[in-house]
Amino acid sequence: DAGVTQSPTHLIKTRGQQVTLRCSPKSGHDTVSWYQQALGQGPQFIFQYYEEEERQRGNFPDRFSGHQFPNYSSELNVNALLLGDSALYLCASSLQLEALNNEQFFGPGTRLTVL
């Protein structure tokens, strides 16, 4: 049973560039959430996708956008990168029908460094 996978593992970009991070949910899951984890901090919720639509968004600017595909995989896009966007980006998947269980399964993350 494949867990949550993310690619790439590491990424280095320069200020002003754009980046796309990818996530494949755990087999059978239909909901994907993205989190930003700055060094030494807890993860911060960016947004969640279900049925290819953004359902809820955290306190992040419009430079952060996402997409969910029919196979439930998801992308996180960040435009006009800032130094402060350097962080570990975590993807978490869950199953909408088991919402009462509320468990999200996390991927290993993508480490983004902005120079």
Binding site: S33, S94, N102, E103, P108, R111
Partner: protein, 113 residues
């Protein structure tokens, strides 16, 4: 707004001893879930234990147990018979529905041989 506070940035415990990690939260909702996640250097967040707010009985998973005090909005994690493999960052998290988790800032646990 909901908040989760972990006031212990770092804790140390001798191997085979017991350690308790603290977590407090603030919410006006009556139904919610609380979690403890472990994040080792490999970065993968691993669920340690979960607690449904409507359940008065404290959750237990092998060597891990919680002390859930709903009125005090406290949710501490007790690790018994600590092992070297328990060394990691531990995050307390809150959620009330299908959407976002609210995480604390984490506690780094060191296990001393």
């Amino acid at each position: 707004a909901q908040t989760v506070t972990q006031s212990q940035p770092e804790m140390s415990v001798q191997e085979a001893e017991t350690v308790t990690l603290s977590c407090t939260y603030d919410t006006s909702e009556s139904d919610y879930y609380l979690f403890w996640y472990k994040q080792p250097p490999s970065r993968q967040m691993i669920l340690v234990i979960r607690q449904e707010a409507y359940k008065q009985q404290n959750a237990t998973e092998n060597r891990f147990s919680v002390n859930f005090q709903k009125a005090a909005k406290s949710f501490s994690l007790k690790i018994s018979d600590s092992q070297l493999g328990d060394a990691a960052m531990y995050f307390c998290a809150w959620t009330s529905g299908t959407y976002k988790y609210i995480f604390g800032t984490g506690t780094r646990l060191k296990v001393l041989a």
